[in-house]
Symmetry: C2
Subunit: 199 residues, 2 copies
């Protein structure tokens, strides 16, 4: 069936490399491309390549930046330069920014330690993080995900920071707002109990 | 947050138009594009545009074809030219071909009738289907999906075919092989009972 459609085969094979396109969806996306008009498609492709060219990681925090080498957060004078929030990915930074609660700087690790997947300290931006600790930063907040990998990454960084006079904290674990205790796993409930706060 | 990243904003806005990329995944796909190497990305874009150019609908059955105006199935002399299987989309054709059971021709409608979504008979290839019924085709098998839209589309086509001497059938409804009666809905069980066959 596919043998007579080499270009479609090639397209599907390349789309399969894109994460979050489950196998069935790859065909549906390919069909969308074939059915939508040529101009939209050319624009999409041009934009993908344009974004790839224009967006570079910030030289301080590895957040994405465009047109400058330092990102908007690092170069803003409204941000508290003494607090550093360590996140795994840009999505986490984006989620924290959307919450609008945090006014310090960030550091994007680029993932979490995962020896089985070949992600060691050198694959992340841990060395760059250690170099940033030149005295201006007074507090580090670990906002890695509450997964084994995220926790291990935070512990590793903590062991590397050593005896520097930096206050270190991590995000609170507990029951999410709006959810129901009934549906929470026991580890979360345990953490929520341990971390209980005066009313 | 996004204001300083206009190209990323543009990319995300264009990716959002692609179906089957749920809102959260759009960002993940955008991040994948930014992180993967430039060459892979250029290849992907080139392939998308190449596929758009190369693949055209078959002039008989509207299956995709490449390099020819008639698809591999319509032009094959191993296929039974007296049987026509009517499917909604190319995915359905692909699924039927994969089953390897069917040796006749196809007709891809391009969807199912859905007045609420603005899909009327003129948006589908129903007229082209009627034109194909010039006497060579002896049997039509409706393989539209067992949804209200699919059933309505089959009924509409049946009413249009009129009194031509064509045998018309549709795919059997019933319990899928490997599944369990326990998990079947009552309509399916009802259909399976109605369509029971001698053992």
């Amino acid at each position: 069936m596919f043998a007579q459609l080499p270009t479609l085969q090639k397209l599907v094979r390349q789309l399969q490399r894109v994460p979050y396109l489950a196998s069935k969806n790859v065909y549906k996306v390919a069909m969308y491309f074939l059915r939508c008009d040529a101009k939209t498609l050319e624009q999409l492709c041009a934009t993908i390549l344009e974004a790839k060219q224009a967006l570079v990681p910030c030289e301080h925090c590895f957040n994405w930046t465009e047109g400058t080498s330092v990102c908007a957060i690092c170069s803003s004078d409204k941000r508290d330069k003494s607090t550093l929030c360590v996140v795994e990915t840009w999505h986490d930074l984006f989620a924290l920014e959307n919450a609008g609660e945090y006014k310090g700087l960030y550091h994007v690790l680029g993932g979490a330690l995962s020896p089985l997947e070949g992600v060691g300290p050198d694959q992340l931006t841990i060395n760059a993080l250690i170099k940033r600790l030149d005295g201006t930063i007074k507090e580090i907040i670990f906002a890695t995900n509450p997964t084994p990998e995220g926790e291990a990454t935070a512990s590793y960084i903590w062991s590397k920071i050593g005896k520097q006079s930096v206050q270190i904290s991590k995000l609170a674990s507990g029951v999410p707002i709006g959810s129901s205790l009934e549906y929470m796993d026991r580890v979360t409930i345990g953490k929520a109990l341990q971390g209980r706060r005066p009313f």
